[in-house]
């Protein structure tokens, strides 16, 4: 053997040094497409046009958030370049846009792409390309499957989790519950309903009546009458704003007063509670995870003050009462902290690894007690909500944080 032990060690260590040098050749960090010493490129799509264009506010808020981050020196010294394209809430358009971002712009990741049908259209593609598909703006429960789709992760509490939380609360608080459910007949409604049934567990037979409506139906009056006739004393209202308001009003009109649980989708005071009539909506319970910018109890909170300053400086002209501006700020802050945690190793693999390693992360504007938690097997960042009850003309928080954290 001519290779001495010492020679081997030297050779091996110089080889590692070479490998290390290669990795550091570009500078101080390790990078994939979309990241460098000076810049991190983040891709996004939003429906700036088309039927869902109200959500476009979120994209503008995220853009404004990263402008603030850049003015403060960026993330670990790197400026964020946020590229947001219009997908018009159309699956073919988002495929085109996602490919443009990944293949032409060469972004590090796609972030907070909005919509269930749209994200479904690029789900496979992103995982095939092994590009992080992070913190999606949709409440469907199918984004947290690390085994099949290790590059995709949701963000907000999914409808399924919320359904579980409501079920737990009914079981604990309504005596001899007989439950009626109104459900919009699509994937959103079914997600809620499945979670609700799972939360009831062996008490699933307490659902005495389950009726559905189509988005194309003019009203839900006949459904509410059917539900009342079932003799139920608890009501889970899985409806989008227009129908939720109709349901609240009709129930009051026909004198049905069950314990009323309203899904978070329709928790807006302006779009639901006001048109339904404040008197008709008293004591309705819903769940929330973000601070409502119109709720006076947060006026003194530091994060709300910071948000107001940011709105005035970076997002002027945007609606101070629009919860989507709160949403955009909070989700962008989550990505900022995840990227910070990546340090100088801005590879796609490490970004996914860090996104799956968020421990009790405090994100501004989440309700007190709600944190972001993930693990390699838990791809659901926010799984806690707090219940609130409608009193007078606003929601009042009550009780503890309700969770359905998975391991």
């Amino acid at each position: 053997m001519s290779v001495t032990r010492r020679g081997f060690v030297v050779g091996a260590s110089s080889a590692t040094m070479l490998a290390g040098a290669a990795a550091h050749a570009q500078g101080k960090g390790k990078y994939d497409d979309g990241a460098s010493d000076t810049e991190i490129k983040i891709g996004n799509t939003m429906p700036y046009s088309g039927p869902a264009s109200a959500y476009g506010v979120i994209g503008k808020a995220i853009d404004a958030y990263f402008k603030m981050v850049n003015d403060k020196g960026g993330i670990n010294g790197r400026k964020v370049k946020f590229i947001s394209l219009d997908d018009a809430y159309s699956p073919p358009k988002i495929v085109e846009a996602a490919r443009q971002l990944v293949e032409q712009e060469k972004v590090l990741c796609l972030f907070n792409t909005l919509g269930t049908p749209t994200n479904t259209a690029i789900h496979k593609y992103m995982n095939l390309k092994k590009v992080p598909h992070l913190f999606l703006a949709t409440g469907a429960s199918k984004w947290g499957k690390p085994k099949e789709f290790p590059w995709t992760m949701g963000w907000q509490p999914d409808y399924h989790t919320e359904g579980v939380i409501f079920a737990k609360h009914i079981l604990a608080n309504v005596k001899d519950a007989k439950i009626a459910v109104l459900m919009q007949n699509d994937d959103y409604g079914k997600d809620y309903y499945e979670g609700f049934r799972e939360g009831l567990g062996k008490d699933v037979s307490k659902i005495v009546k389950h009726v559905t409506y189509e988005v194309t139906d003019p009203t839900v009056d006949s459904q509410i009458i059917q539900l009342k006739d079932s003799g139920a004393n608890a009501f889970f209202n899985i409806a989008t704003p227009k129908f939720a308001a109709q349901a609240i009003r009709k129930a009051a009109d026909i004198g049905w007063k069950p314990a009323h649980y309203l899904n978070n989708v329709s928790a807006s005071v302006a779009a639901v509670m006001k048109p339904a009539g404040y008197d008709n909506g008293q004591d309705i319970i819903t769940a929330a995870y973000l601070k409502d910018p119109t709720d006076k109890q947060w006026d003194g909170a530091d994060d709300m003050k910071a948000w107001r300053e940011w709105m005035a400086k970076y997002n002027p002209g945007a609606n101070m009462g629009d919860g989507f501006n709160v949403y955009g700020y909070a989700v962008a802050a989550t990505l900022e902290k995840t990227l910070e945690q990546c340090g100088n190793e801005l590879t796609r693999a490490n970004l996914m690894k860090q996104a799956a390693n968020l421990k009790k992360l405090v994100v501004p504007l989440l309700l007190p007690g709600i944190t972001v938690n993930t693990s390699p097997t838990d791809f659901y960042p926010i799984q806690s909500m707090r219940l609130q009850r409608f009193k007078g003309e606003t929601w009042e928080l009550f009780g503890d944080v309700m969770s359905n954290e998975s391991a």
Binding site: D86, S90, E96, P117, T120
Partner: protein, 353 residues
């Protein structure tokens, strides 16, 4: 578009001539274009930055749009029936293909004939009541169809087939016989073959007896009737053929996107096909290709342009992409009232004079 205004009559002699003209010296140009289009993906290994997979994919979507615009052109341009609802046939084609692939696991290349037949039947049946509707009334009826189809796809009883709002996730077509092509290269060739075949078929149809009958009905329905043309039959069959073309485009797009959902076929799809038709050139085969390129390209670059105006030129106007799109359309219609194809022909004539 349908009635013979003075402007139309002025261009009418050029219209039947354009398919004819292609028969003469211009045929050489068609071959050159097709050969160039066929050679393009092979350059991917030479200049990967210019001919990237993404750009090939974009060009495939342009060809798909061109087929859909051609379908609409056969009906509106050559036969004079206005449709605001061709997105509906596009959706029917896409869903037919998707369901056959998903439920019966049929290979993608067997689908186009089936899709063509299904869409022809749907279009033919829709054409029957449409016979009684002229001009604006027909436009409204097709408009209703475009609005109804996405809702029908979500319908409870169809949900097992269509997947409801969640749609159907499909596989992308892979190159056959172990050809060393990427998915996007193969998709490009697949679309190119279908596009060439369909345009060739349309050209054959239009230069013959049937084509002359279709155009005679467009120019003067009553006169065409007195000459012995069965206007009712021609109109319904044209509706069917037009629907079949657009349906095939839908089926191709289902393969290209590998996903269908009701949200893919919103009302704007029908409108953008109509815009492609008018901008490209009414009653013109090359115009349909230009229209297809336009619908894809301009919708993409409108956003880039609006960003450019805001960030790079620094004008204080926050133009939305759709305002840019609108301004562009207005300018085009003002400068080239007969569409880009017609505008180019006119400019060429003026230069030769």
């Amino acid at each position: 578009m349908t009635t013979a205004t003075p402007a139309d009559t002025a261009t009418t002699p050029a219209v039947p001539a354009s398919p004819m003209a292609a028969a003469g010296a211009d045929r050489r140009w068609v071959w050159i274009v097709v050969a160039a289009a066929a050679a393009l993906p092979l350059l991917r290994s030479v200049v990967p930055d210019i001919i990237s997979d993404y750009r090939l994919f974009l060009m495939s979507t342009m060809m798909i749009a061109a087929i859909a615009v051609l379908g609409l052109n056969l009906l509106t341009g050559f036969n004079g029936q206005i449709s605001l609802g061709h997105g509906a046939f596009y959706a029917v084609g896409a869903y037919t293909a998707a369901i056959l692939m998903d439920k019966l696991s049929l290979p993608y290349w067997t689908l186009l004939p089936i899709v063509a037949v299904v869409c022809f039947v749907v279009g033919f049946l829709f054409g029957l009541p449409a016979l009684r509707l002229e001009g604006h009334y027909l436009a409204l009826a097709t408009f209703a169809l475009a609005l109804a189809v996405p809702q029908m796809l979500k319908y409870r009883w169809l949900e097992d087939l269509t997947g409801g709002v969640q749609g159907i996730v499909l596989l992308k077509p892979e190159a056959p016989f172990g050809l060393p092509l990427t998915e996007d290269q193969w998709l490009y060739y697949y679309c190119l073959i279908v596009t060439v075949l369909l345009f060739w078929a349309a050209w054959n149809l239009l230069r013959g007896r049937s084509g002359r009958a279709m155009m005679a009905i467009r120019d003067h329905s009553m006169a065409a009737g007195t000459m012995g043309i069965d206007t009712a039959r021609y109109k319904t069959v044209t509706f069917g053929i037009s629907a079949a073309y657009t349906g095939i485009a839908g089926a191709l797009s289902a393969s290209a996107i590998a996903f269908v959902a009701p949200d893919s076929f919103g009302f704007f799809l029908s409108i953008s096909l109509l815009i492609g038709l008018v901008v490209g050139g009414v009653a013109s085969l090359p115009g349909s290709i230009i229209g297809g390129i336009f619908t894809v390209l301009v919708q993409n670059s409108a956003q880039a342009l609006s960003n450019f105006v805001k960030n790079d030129i620094g004008l204080p106007y926050d133009l939305s992409p759709y305002s840019v799109y609108g301004i562009l359309l207005l300018v085009l219609m003002y400068v080239m009232p007969t569409g880009i194809a017609g505008g180019v022909v006119m400019a060429w004539r003026r230069l030769r004079r």
